[in-house]
């Protein structure tokens, strides 16, 4: 490789990085939260917290379904899990409403308290799903547009990764180099370390991000091989099987499900987590009992759980399915590995935390890259030269996307606790709180794109993140000082992560207000230089 090739790659990396950097920071931060989206949703619905699985949960669920929809086409009961405290009861009504656009009919559903059997109506909130959806389709723009924009950013990141690797001839040496407290050098080292440390993760997350939207981005291969009908491809590949339900039969008494559950649990050696009933209370009722599959990341993602199917009237076992053991061809294995890694579908709690940390490393990589861009250009200024308006704009946008977004997410959580529970369109209002706060942070950042601006935003962020668990103590009965939160570790974790963010914010603030120590080794021996900006001045110092 010659020098000019590497130079052109460095150029490409710098400019592609700047163009899409802000979007990538936002995608990374919200996407990282998505690893815990169910936990966040749980935390944001405090009405559901005081609910635990009991041996009677199933009987109560069947009673509720019999009460609400005894003549439904099908029932579906999801029992509580570590990430979900209430039982979810869904059903397809006998008279199906015609769905526009051929989408899957989702039917009706209620949440049921697992120990009292009462129907729970949690406050209206988008929960963790808002942040999750934002990370792949943004908000307030048509879904398709948002997805194309995110995919474009993803492709840019794939290009930035490849060109970044080429830029570093000494990639492993760079990884072991860290020179703290030396301004631009330190940012460069931090950017390199977070990039190289998590390089496999970064490559996986971008490549699989594209694969997840392959039918939108790259339908041409499907059309080429299935010229008659694109749907044939999907039914060949993604069919869940057994979807064509029989017509409802004549009314009949159903068998007691409990003994069947014991039988299935003994067979698989695991608890049944999901119960499906087709044609309940009919003479052709079918009961299917599902257990969670063993995590196998090459397995197909949907419909892969082991399941036993029973006759719903006499309780005879009809079949045992182990779809995850179906042979999978090599290419589909690759596809499955990448996409399940992206979503950490297979992950146990510990692995999920690891992915969360990798997500933070990815966010840090994007953030340090943005700060590095500004820092380099600030250092190139001559003495007494004021930064131009474009440099100020980049600085302001950096601040708004980094500290501004963190402030907005904290505000979203606080809004969830403080907005009145009965508010009209409450879920949308929470999202409005998020965007209004973010907008305010953007305006502030553009007005004060300097060190004092950073100090103010970081201070505010610290206070807000600290406020989340405190407000939780004041407004709910499932905060850190109650047993409920610890009984469902997911709840305590959310509060603890908020405290950790507050701690990180406090540390950053302390570094920002400390007088920048005169650097021992100025990065460059230019007499014109005052002092090298230290690590503590992310946006340089031009206050």
């Amino acid at each position: 490789m010659n020098g000019s090739f590497r130079q052109s790659m460095a150029w490409l990396h710098t400019w592609v990085g700047l163009l899409l950097g802000w979007l990538l920071v936002a995608i990374f931060i919200t996407g990282t939260s998505a690893y815990f989206r169910e936990e966040i949703t749980l935390w944001m619905e405090p009405e559901t917290h005081d609910s635990t699985l009991t041996p009677n949960t199933l009987d109560m669920a069947v009673a509720v379904l019999n009460d609400k929809a005894s003549d439904a086409r099908s029932w579906d009961i999801s029992l509580p899990s570590a990430r979900h405290t209430v039982a979810e009861l869904r059903w397809q009504p006998l008279q199906q409403r015609q769905q526009q656009g051929g989408g899957r009919n989702r039917g009706e559903s209620v949440s049921m308290d697992a120990d009292s059997g009462q129907v729970v109506e949690p406050r209206d909130t988008a929960g963790g799903n808002f942040l999750y959806r934002f990370h792949y389709q943004l908000h307030g723009v048509p879904r398709e547009v948002g997805r194309w924009v995110v995919c474009l950013a993803t492709m840019f990141m794939l290009i930035a990764i490849i060109s970044g690797v080429i830029t570093h001839k000494k990639i492993f040496k760079d990884f072991f180099t860290f020179r703290p407290g030396k301004g631009q050098r330190s940012w460069l080292d931090a950017h390199n370390a977070t990039a190289v440390l998590a390089l496999p993760f970064h490559f996986m997350i971008t490549y699989s991000g594209l694969l997840l939207f392959m039918t939108m981005l790259m339908p041409w291969g499907i059309d080429a091989a299935y010229p008659e009908n694109r749907r044939d491809f999907f039914s060949e590949v993604f069919s869940r099987g057994g979807e064509e339900a029989q017509r409802p039969g004549n009314p009949a008494e159903m068998v007691d499900i409990k003994p069947l559950i014991a039988q299935t649990e003994a067979h698989f050696g695991k608890p049944v987590t999901r119960i499906g009933v087709t044609n309940p209370n009919r003479d052709n009722a079918v009961i299917s009992l599902r257990v969670d599959r063993d995590p196998a990341i090459t397995a197909r993602q949907r419909g892969g759980d082991p399941v036993q199917v029973y006759n719903g009237v006499n309780g005879e076992l009809q079949e045992t399915l182990l779809p995850s053991e179906d042979p999978v061809s090599p290419s589909w294995r690759i596809y499955n590995v990448f996409t399940s890694l992206h979503m950490a579908r297979f992950a146990d709690p510990l692995t999920r935390w690891l992915f969360f940390l990798f997500g933070i490393a990815g966010s840090a990589m994007a953030i340090t890259g943005m700060l590095l861009w500004v820092n380099k250009r600030t250092q190139q200024l001559k003495r007494d030269q004021v930064p131009g308006s474009s440099l100020k704009l980049v600085k302001g946008l950096n601040m708004a996307t980094i500290s501004g977004l963190m402030i907005a997410i904290a505000a979203y959580f606080i809004g969830n606790r403080l907005l009145p529970v009965t508010l009209e369109n409450r879920g949308d209002q929470e999202i409005q709180v998020f965007f209004l706060v973010w907008l305010a942070a953007l305006i502030h950042a553009l007005l004060r794109p300097n060190r004092s601006g950073w100090q103010e935003q970081v201070a505010l962020g610290t206070v807000l993140w600290l406020a989340v668990p405190v407000i939780n103590v004041l407004t709910t009965d499932s905060h850190l000082f109650t047993a409920v939160a610890w009984q469902h570790p997911a709840l305590a974790s959310v509060d603890l992560v908020c405290l950790a963010f507050a701690g990180a914010g406090g540390y950053t603030f302390w570094r920002l207000i400390r007088k920048p120590a005169p650097a021992k080794h100025a990065p460059r021996k230019k007499p014109a230089k005052r002092t090298a900006p230290s690590t503590t001045a992310p946006a340089g110092e031009n206050s």
Partner: protein, 88 residues
């Protein structure tokens, strides 16, 4: 790099790169000797990587003409493969 060259290369990377990878996905989907759905996913797996590589190629070669030329050449190859493999 002049602004004109940068614009030209950007277009080559975006439009040319996408066309190249679309043709790659189409060609592999019909020409690989394996079940249809496997050929399709293999084509897509390769296409996304090629798209990124095409963009890098567009910015690494000496002139913008060369960037277009290389992408066009590979696209032609995939286009020909697609015509050979597509069902009559």
């Amino acid at each position: 790099m002049t602004p004109l060259s940068i614009t030209s290369r950007t277009l080559a990377a975006a439009l040319g790169g996408y066309a190249l990878s679309a043709l790659c996905a189409m060609a592999l989907a019909v020409i690989l000797p394996m079940p249809r759905n496997e050929a399709v996913i293999t084509g897509i797996l390769v296409a996304f990587l090629l798209c990124a590589c095409a963009a890098i190629w567009a910015f690494s070669v000496r002139s913008a003409w060369r960037a277009w030329g290389g992408i066009a050449l590979v696209s032609l190859v995939f286009g020909a493969l697609y015509l050979i493999g597509s069902p009559p």
